[in-house]
Amino acid sequence: MSDKKQQVSRRQFLNYTLTGVGGFMAAGLLVSPLRMAIDPVLKESSSGDLVNVGLSVDDITSEPQRVDWTVEQVDGWYESEPSRSAWVFKNDNGDIVALSPICTHLGCVVSWEGSEDYPNQFFCPCHDGRYEKDGTNVPGTPPLAPLPYYEHEVRDGILFLGNPISREGA
């Protein structure tokens, strides 16, 4: 028996093993509850499919028109069909543009030429926020970012829209 060797006493040994075993048991007990709590964070967000909004491409003009449609939304165990809207038009290049009507200021709904004082602009009635036709916010009015645009696709001459994509403020 060498005196230099660090002996572990019976008491220390029991302390370590019991703490270790207890720790493992506590950890084992907590794994499932924690994994359950963070499940929404780790779930892959199903980027919703594009939806037929019932508008023929031929009917899209350079004048923005309001399109309303519904999407199928699954919220856990709760399924619903909330409505969506967009302002759809062809820009100067002939490309289809679908803008979200949700004001980037405080979330009211904007209208094309919603105010007689501001022709050729989107107008928000809540705080007089304004946007140019391409959705850029007019400086000096409340919104600080352009209107979001919907990802879109044309299938068999019919317009399909997806999720709104936010744009950074200028």
């Binding site: 929404p40 964070v41 939304q73 979330g107």
Partner: protein, 224 residues
């Protein structure tokens, strides 16, 4: 009769010292409003706790009617508010008490701050107090959603967007709170209910216990 009952228990488990430790202790003259009226400022902490007790009791009774489900939450609150005898009063206690707690808590904090009562050796209790403050704000935020009316919904929308602004983990934090990446809905309501009724009260009890034990250990800070 009561004395006999007490004696019977005390004989066996000797509860008098426990009782003495909890409730029977001297109140220094400088914190006693009977001696100096201005000492009423020392009451704010106790008043905060008093209102917290009201919140716990009224909240327990509210859950007898409330359902954390988006179809029924608002209806259950409406029923409780309009059809149940005294339901309006119990919900009123919880509703107004929530604001009174914050007011009392701020007054208590101001007293401790301006009297410098947080200084050594009581720094730790200040920290615990700040944690209690955050828990209280969390309780207010999560409780606000539960009636599931327009105000509740949009206040939560705003709150979640604020959480999203946290650097690096904001997005995950928001989903963790809302239960869904883009929807404020069924899963948000159950989560907020669980946080409001179980998680935060649990944290609150633990922190309050530490808060009070530290006060008894260190005593109330001396006169100015």
């Amino acid at each position: 009769m009561l004395q006999k009952l007490y004696d019977w228990i005390d004989d066996r488990v000797d509860i008098t010292p426990i009782w003495r430790d909890i409730a029977d202790h001297e109140v220094p003259e400088h914190v006693n409003p009977a001696h100096h009226f201005s000492a009423f400022v020392y009451c704010f902490g106790g008043l905060t706790f008093f209102v917290v007790v009201i919140q716990i009791l009224s909240g327990m009774f509210l859950t007898m009617y409330y359902v954390p489900d988006i179809e029924n939450a608002w209806k259950s609150v409406y029923y409780l508010q309009t059809e149940v005898a005294h339901g309006q009063i119990v919900r009123g206690m919880h509703h107004w008490g929530a604001s009174v707690v914050i007011v009392m808590l701020l007054l208590h904090t101001l007293r401790v701050f301006f009297q410098g009562a947080y200084k050594k050796p009581r720094e730790l209790n200040w920290i615990v107090g700040v944690l209690i403050f955050f828990v209280m704000l969390g309780l207010g935020f999560t409780g606000y959603l539960l009636p599931w009316d327009n105000k509740a919904y949009f206040a939560t929308q705003v709150g979640l967007e604020i959480a999203e602004q946290v650097p690096f983990v904001g997005e995950q934090l928001k989903i963790l709170l809302a239960g869904d990446a883009s929807i404020v809905g069924a899963q948000t309501l159950t989560r907020f209910f669980a946080i409001h009724v179980f998680f935060l009260p649990g944290a609150l009890f633990a922190l309050l216990a530490i808060h009070f034990i530290l006060i008894r250990r260190q005593g109330i800070s001396g006169p100015l």
